[in-house]
Subunit: 79 residues, 6 copies
């Protein structure tokens, strides 16, 4: 998205945090880890996870801090 | 769609606006931001988001303001 | 389908017509607009929308008015 | 499936027959129409529809009356 | 899976056995038919169906009786 | 994920353990078997299953014990 906008706070929406997958992603957000997100299209998106919710995960990457909203159904894996 | 038609108002349908993904898309609609929508087919559709609902997202693009109704299940990401 | 059969009436099945996507498609059916339907396989099917229901959308195309029943889960976009 | 087996009767399972898509497929079964089934893999399977249920559609094709059980989620369209 | 393990009994889990697709697969398990399973990736897996449940189908194939657990959402067809 | 982090315990979350697929995966976790996970993208990920939950399966592979969180909807099969 070319226009600057008020970046949403890294949010820990009310998930089932008993699930290891949710706990892992929340850890990744807290630690601002660099991750590789592989999509079902074969695309690789690298950067930091800003937030995750029921539909999407938002990755901030590159110098211009470009924000990419990825639909979870399109995610193959996160490494 | 080749025939002109009465363009629906940019609509903020009743979503769970507590979700960051919905708030982001609503911001994109309000700001009439230019976005890139990447599909699971590998297609890229660039333009402005007219509306989003439970099934689809509508992008207006190009000089002829062509309207493309994209099924959300086919969306990989929005940037 | 090679055998002629009684073409179903263009039907406006009981959908959630408050959704812009449903209203758009119903408009396309009423106006008998020519549309391009892009599938997740990459196929393009051009023609007129005869009907849509919870599972499928039916496109009539070409001189022989061939009817194609497309599963909605296979649709990427309609333009 | 290489071993002969007792072919299930062409069945009209209890679907929501108010839907045009279900009525169409039931018509195809009754009329023993020859159809082309395009899959999301790009495969084309031609033959007669033996039955359809919530999960699958069964196509009988070729001289050896080979029966193929296709998962509906893999179907792009039927023509 | 490289390590030998106690093969689960060919199981007929409590499905809706009124559906032709479930009856067909149960017949295939009983008859130990050789089948071809085509995946959405384009892969072909040949062998005998050990079991099927709500999530997966297990195919035993090849001399080393390799067991492959296939997610049903990845199955295109069984022949 | 490049930063070390506290590896979650191999967890047997409360699944429907009557299903053969869940029992199989739990056996694989207990036995620390080496498995091949084939994704719908065509990718192959080899390693040991650390945990599985409703959304994802976590594979630890390679010398650097890289942890890959794979969405179950992207899994074709495990062998």
């Amino acid at each position: 998205m070319s226009t600057p906008h008020q970046a949403p706070v890294a949010s820990m929406s009310e998930f089932n945090t008993s699930l290891p997958s949710i706990r892992r992603i929340q850890g990744i957000i807290r630690e601002k880890s660099d991750v590789e997100v592989k999509l079902l299209t074969g695309d690789d998106i690298n950067g930091k996870v800003l937030w995750i919710d029921d539909n999407c995960i938002c990755i901030e990457s590159g110098t211009g801090s470009v924000k990419t909203i990825i639909w979870l159904h399109a995610v193959a894996y996160i490494k």
